[in-house]
């Protein structure tokens, strides 16, 4: 009789632990999904800005067809990308294409002086900053989720219930540019 009670008590504790671990895994997975949704919002916002930007440059440099096509293709590739890694890779190509678009724009002082163009440029760089911010949050949540999945004892729960590691969202130019360090007042 006493053995039955002991066995039942142990089973109850094990079941309770498994439930708590499962709930924590679900919470972390939802946080990571929210993190990805935040990135997605900013990627869409950038995708919406790009056609306007291309139109603005076209008005001054209609003959630079190659650059416009390149940007448009890269934009479409980012929109098609299904996974964080694919989105990051396509994003790298888009950044390079946008770089060439701005290089073209450099040659047209009137274009650079136009209010519409400088507004679009500000909006674009703001969106890039927000993508970077959302990426930091997403990567932090993914790191927490993946660690929880892989470590004991939650690995005993995560595998049977099919929790899979999520990809980080890492851009190609991950290395930060050097920053000026100064301790004086600026």
């Amino acid at each position: 009789m006493i053995w039955l009670i002991v066995v039942l008590a142990v089973l109850a504790v094990l079941a309770l632990t498994a439930i708590l671990l499962y709930n924590r895994l679900v919470r972390l997975r939802n946080e990571a999904e929210t993190g990805w949704a935040n990135i997605d919002v900013q990627l869409k916002r950038r995708a919406d800005l790009i056609p306007n930007l291309v139109e603005a440059v076209k008005g001054y440099a209609a003959h630079e067809r190659g650059v416009f096509d390149e940007v448009t293709r890269a934009r479409a590739a980012v929109q098609r990308a299904g996974t964080p890694a694919a989105a990051a890779a396509a994003g790298g190509i888009l950044d390079a294409a946008l770089g060439r678009l701005f290089a073209v724009a450099e040659a047209y002082p009137e274009l650079r002086a136009s209010e519409n163009f400088s507004l679009l440029q500000t909006e674009l760089s703001d969106t890039e900053d927000k993508i970077a911010a959302a990426r930091r949050y997403y990567n932090a949540t993914v790191l927490a989720f993946n660690t929880q999945i892989q470590t004991f004892p939650s690995v005993l729960v995560s595998r049977p219930f099919g929790f899979r590691e999520r990809e980080l969202f890492e851009t190609a130019g991950e290395a930060r540019e050097p920053v000026a360090v100064g301790f004086g007042r600026t």
Binding site: D129, A133, R136, Y137
Partner: protein, 251 residues
């Protein structure tokens, strides 16, 4: 300890402190009840609790009007607005807190609000002018970290509870002085008086115990949010060098 563990430890401490506060309110209520009789005891407790609820519901507005903080829109200061937006995204807040500017030459910032959705972050004009964007971002990240770690909620709660305890014991003393209650004397009445005297002091001490660790945790969180510990260090350094008087406490 990792950041997540620190946040959890912080939450446990908060729960402990809030329960101590609750005990304190109950003790003060019991002392008033015992020393002054049921009628006055209930009255004093009811006024205290009503005040507490009112103050909690209006805390955000009260802080806003006390510091004369005026709201900042995106059109007023796009750079500041974008900094706050980006930091809120990086911290994973469900919404961007609103932004206020306080007319004050001393560099300072604070955040308040019971929930992230209804919080605001305020900076003084002095801070806005003193800090380059990178370091301003670090200061804002520190305030956003207070919002995310729910420090703003806890400190609001603590301030309100200190007020409630002080109000209850003050009312109880006035009631006793103006002739209410049973003039029974004896050790129980003395104990009640001692409890009423000590309670407000204990409340303030509890509140002070809460705040210091939270500042360090918020600095660490801010560095993690920005992924730029150096900016945080530079901002702290700049604040240390600045000797102008700080007019408002950091909450």
């Amino acid at each position: 300890m990792t950041l997540q563990q620190q946040i959890r430890a912080n939450r446990r401490r908060s729960a402990l402190v809030v329960s101590l506060f609750a005990l304190l309110v109950v003790a003060v209520g019991a002392a008033a009840w015992y020393g002054l009789g049921q009628g006055i005891g209930v009255f004093v407790l009811a006024v205290g609790i009503a005040y507490g609820v009112f103050a909690l519901l209006n805390a955000r507005g009260m802080v806003g009007s006390l510091t004369k903080a005026r709201p900042v829109t995106k059109a007023d200061d796009p750079e500041l607005y974008r900094l706050v937006e980006n930091v809120a995204i990086a911290a994973g807040l469900p919404a961007t807190p609103s932004i206020r500017l306080v007319e004050d030459p001393a560099p300072n910032a604070f955040a308040t609000g019971l929930r992230p959705q209804s919080s605001f972050v305020a900076v003084t004009t002095g801070l806005r002018e003193l800090m380059p964007p990178r370091e301003l971002e670090a200061v804002i990240a520190h305030e956003i970290a207070h919002v995310r770690n729910r420090d703003t909620r806890l400190m609001t709660l603590a301030a309100v509870l200190v007020g409630v305890v002080a109000l209850i014991s003050d009312l109880a003393f006035r009631a006793a002085f103006f002739g209410g209650g049973r003039r029974s004397g004896g050790p129980a009445a003395i104990a009640a008086v001692i409890a009423l005297v000590l309670a407000p002091i204990a409340a303030v001490l509890l509140q002070l115990a809460l705040s210091r660790r939270r500042e360090f945790l918020a600095d660490a969180s801010a560095a993690a949010i920005l992924n730029d510990p150096e900016a945080m260090a530079l901002a702290l350094r700049r604040l240390e060098l600045d000797t102008r008087e700080i007019a408002y406490g950091d909450r």
